[in-house]
Symmetry: D3
Subunit: 127 residues, 6 copies
Amino acid sequence: MTSALERGRDIVRTLNPALEQVLAERYDDLVDGFSESLVEWAYGRHYARPGLDLKTRQLCTVAALTALGGQTGPQLKANIAHSLAAGASREEIVEAIWQMAVYGGLPAAINGLNVARDLFADLDRET
Amino acid sequence: MTSALERGRDIVRTLNPALEQVLAERYDDLVDGFSESLVEWAYGRHYARPGLDLKTRQLCTVAALTALGGQTGPQLKANIAHSLAAGASREEIVEAIWQMAVYGGLPAAINGLNVARDLFADLDRET
Amino acid sequence: MTSALERGRDIVRTLNPALEQVLAERYDDLVDGFSESLVEWAYGRHYARPGLDLKTRQLCTVAALTALGGQTGPQLKANIAHSLAAGASREEIVEAIWQMAVYGGLPAAINGLNVARDLFADLDRET
Amino acid sequence: MTSALERGRDIVRTLNPALEQVLAERYDDLVDGFSESLVEWAYGRHYARPGLDLKTRQLCTVAALTALGGQTGPQLKANIAHSLAAGASREEIVEAIWQMAVYGGLPAAINGLNVARDLFADLDRET
Amino acid sequence: MTSALERGRDIVRTLNPALEQVLAERYDDLVDGFSESLVEWAYGRHYARPGLDLKTRQLCTVAALTALGGQTGPQLKANIAHSLAAGASREEIVEAIWQMAVYGGLPAAINGLNVARDLFADLDRET
Amino acid sequence: MTSALERGRDIVRTLNPALEQVLAERYDDLVDGFSESLVEWAYGRHYARPGLDLKTRQLCTVAALTALGGQTGPQLKANIAHSLAAGASREEIVEAIWQMAVYGGLPAAINGLNVARDLFADLDRET
């Protein structure tokens, strides 16, 4: 049986193969073991669980980060990209964000839409 | 073409046919037009939109209400019931809640699990 | 010129003459100086300021506590009572609460309406 | 009797006549019907209600957005401008913001003051 | 070298030896591996780290749960008990809570004080 | 016996001697008495209290601001600097921040780490 860390790395390979290294370079000198701990907990102990498919998990995360408000902008951006990697369409992502106007209020939903629009524009420019 | 209110009522019929009347009895004397306005906005202007299936919409709502924290307990309970009505399994609902430990913190996720467990126990007693 | 503490006590006399003593009995043994400090800061340094009338200040507080969510229920209840003492009608209070559905989301607004309805029912029973 | 959408448009005409068009240009391609839905819900279903005057409604919104914290900065800025259009003085707006130090904490209040100061400076430069 | 799970179990032994079993009985049937995952992440990956003593870690947690608001009441109660187990005095705990009035607002601080007072009363009754 | 304002000024002298003047220049024209009121309340009525040492108070504040999320970035930055002035090491500060991943979620903790890293880099450049 694989460890939580290994299961997390399997998921990250699908969502963003560079993630652990990017996090390691940015945070491991400040917090020893940061990148490994994050992959183990977030991906190995949550996303890797059976019972809910990866694409729905990602859309749930996008919805929750939107509802939590704009201070989670950088994480929302990363998770929109991960949602695309997990097979969600842009339309599905936008719908998951806009629906949060009901639960987190209009400001949270609008700030979330702005993050999505900016990321989509970046992706269009890259191609 | 149907109005937003009619489209909302179509969705509510699937999720909880009694919802509009329950809300009307509880709140319309306090806020004139409350139940109609809620069905129009939440269900007609959001859940009735194309682009994301109803079950995923409900799981996104469950995730977001969990991340927003325990003060949304009554709404979380209602939306777990709606998620079951939209075809989600108990396991899928629990996974959407527990994953929020990553984004909203452990207390929010644990409080969400408690809401789910209590509702499942109620449902089991009823049957 | 009066001190902030005296100015705060003047305001509290209008809103709820028993407030400082109630707070003193409940909290001063736990936090030395609690009641005095609260009256000085909240009422002497904020509500006693010129530039905005007391009734509007109270309605702003009711709106904000609603938007912050149901964990502030006890404080929302107290501030609805203070709003009535400052001359706001029940209708004005309910409107300030319900409007928060736009900014804090439907769950926060509904939880706020429940607090108002329960307090109004208590007041009706007392008379 | 007018529809909620028409009643919302009447209010928006007072607060910011360009609002619906600006929102439409910015968001309607991303979320079909966004601007109409927002005007209907926020302004037609809330601000257009009887029972609380428009200026007090705006000050309640400014207070709540401040208490919800700095991630709602863009919406706070827009609603400070709407408050001025509804007849509130700068002093009344600042007081509604600063009072939130009691309920949302000092950081939220200070971030709100910064938004107000920047907007007032912009307005002074324009004239 | 010990694993994160073992390091977490060492910490939990100090704070509350029954914790993992209590969590297992309450949640492992709902979320497979819940208790192990929580001990590994919260205690093994955080509290077990060098660089900050356990008592200060607990007081930081008490402060943060207070500022996050009353919906975290059950977790605040548990962490006040853990703080006592880690050597903090009741006075230190109360001070860490009351200081949060500055950052999370008065309602959050007052709700936190209520949790502390109730727990202290329970402990006094037990002895 | 000294007043709360004087006791607050004593604490501020340790944490950041320029603080009251900086706040006065930035906010007193907008909110009459702002700087005096803040020093009296935050430092005179909280930090100056006996029962918890200044360094632990600062670490509690850093933890809470982190958990409250990135919108408190400017205040988190100031309080990390105050924590260093109160004798906390960089490592202790980083640990207080990272631990908040458990309670406020990973996004809040990561945003807090970014604030710390940027401030430490600024301090290293200055010397």
